[in-house]
Symmetry: C2
Subunit: 292 residues, 2 copies
């Protein structure tokens, strides 16, 4: 019996192999691969740190609390992974696997928990900031979406953008912002161009009232995300891109609480002249890779 | 910046070290040890299987659902760990660490999610089966609690027992069983003896209506636990023992769905003569180690 305790030694690799071998023949090959590795690493972790039942149960309770706090507006399980760098890592794995060459290709970053499926489509040149706060700076953001290999402009690509307000809250977290404030889907024109007015992003803390916040506190870590704008760019026949762009001058650029920053995603906001609607401007071009 | 994506390679050990190094100086040494190992193993797992964002998000949703199903009568996060062998492993680690010698010492097994803190204390020789089902066989179970080193009987040790009925349900899961049916706390007498009437245990499936059941199905595994009785034995000045004893003839003895079986915990139910209350008998003696 693989689950024996042998002469007082802690249950070892034989026990772990027994758990792995319990998977039946109808397990899909991919699930078998994933669960085999997961079981090995979880067991090795427990043995390595000599995890006690009390510590394990404290972890179970944190995870149960994360589920209990999650709903269609909040995903605490995701945030829990984010503060451990896991979403950034799987995003990078997925992005690297999906693209043969990253040379010149716009880099990806994590989706995060605040994207919405039902964001309204808006016209180029219009705004996404409808409840502009008094401490907010308006930015005219525009750029071109092109194919990374041919340089050809991509017409009718969708640029889905979302950002928090200066109080650190996305509209679904904040009763004082109207529905769909600071989010919109734009379509590129024949030259591949998109444009809109938005806010200069500001740093904000991740939600700290749940188990992820508790874990951050126990790890003596700060809770801030550097100032960023979320983008999801899609064009027919191309790999979709989910990314974030970061204010290069933000103090949290080098220690993002969810580890999403990549050097090539930092951008510079510059003064804009002659536009009464915006004090700042940001040009951001996006390249997409062809779908396999 | 440790979180760079370097020339198209997947985020590697430098990224992982950056996440670990984000822990501040006020992190407790034990939490730092546990989180360092956890972050390393979780990242290595993701890289090893090239985990995609879709697969990771499917895992997050399973974990969130586990939390949402959990309440004071059910702990689905715990069950999720159990079917991966984790509770058995941490129980074994904790038990081995707590006892210098396991020679002759009663082995531990997992607590499971059905223990209750408010179980009534009952007199020796009384019963815990108040709603005996027609297919149930009553057992007179008795034994002695002694110190493992001296062999001395331990007086006023508590023997907390709980078991499922033949329908596979514990009383808190079953509206047809009265409160605290099939559970009780007994106190050993001056000779260290305890005794009570209970049911011969029968195999039952773990709950399959949640994400743990879904995972078992995906892994093509059966869902049964071998027939067992739960025991928690405590005596002043001794290490508390949580264990389970298993019917040696049960067909699931070698492939428990939660991997709790140890050879030394299998027991034999024998016919009992001259007792109109019970057709079977089980003698089970328990040894405890002195507290450190």
């Amino acid at each position: 019996m693989g689950s024996n305790n042998q002469n007082g030694d802690v249950l070892g690799q034989e026990f772990t192999q027994n758990v792995i071998d319990s998977m039946g023949p109808k397990t899909s090959p991919r699930l078998r691969e994933v669960m085999t590795s997961l079981i090995k690493h979880v067991h090795d972790f427990a043995r390595e740190v000599q995890l006690t039942t009390d510590e394990w149960m404290a972890g179970v309770q944190l995870i149960n609390q994360a589920g209990q706090m999650s709903d269609d507006k909040r995903n605490e399980g995701q945030l829990f992974c984010d503060v451990l760098g896991l979403e950034s890592l799987v995003d990078d794995i997925t992005f690297t696997a999906a693209t043969k060459s990253t040379n010149g290709l716009t880099a990806s970053a994590i989706l995060g928990p605040f994207w919405r499926q039902d964001t309204p489509h808006r016209d180029n040149g219009t705004t996404i900031t409808f409840d502009t706060p008094s401490d907010g700076q308006v930015v005219y953001m525009h750029g071109k979406v092109t194919d990374v290999d041919t340089g050809r402009p991509l017409q009718d690509a969708t640029v889905d953008v979302w950002q928090a307000s200066t109080n650190g809250l996305y509209e679904q977290q904040d009763a004082n912002q109207r529905e769909h404030n600071l989010r919109g889907v734009f379509h590129t024109d024949a030259e591949g161009n998109y444009s809109f007015y938005c806010l200069k992003p500001t740093p904000y803390p991740v939600p700290t009232d749940g188990p992820a916040g508790k874990l951050l506190e126990m790890m003596d870590r700060h809770v801030f995300r550097p100032a960023h704008i979320h983008l999801m760019v899609q064009s027919k026949g191309h790999k979709p891109l989910t990314t974030q762009i970061f204010d290069k001058d933000c103090k949290y650029l080098k220690n993002d609480s969810v580890f999403a920053v990549k050097d090539e995603l930092s951008v510079e906001f510059v003064p804009r002249k002659g536009d009464p609607e915006a004090a700042l401007e940001l040009v951001y071009n996006v390249t997409l890779a062809k779908a396999a």
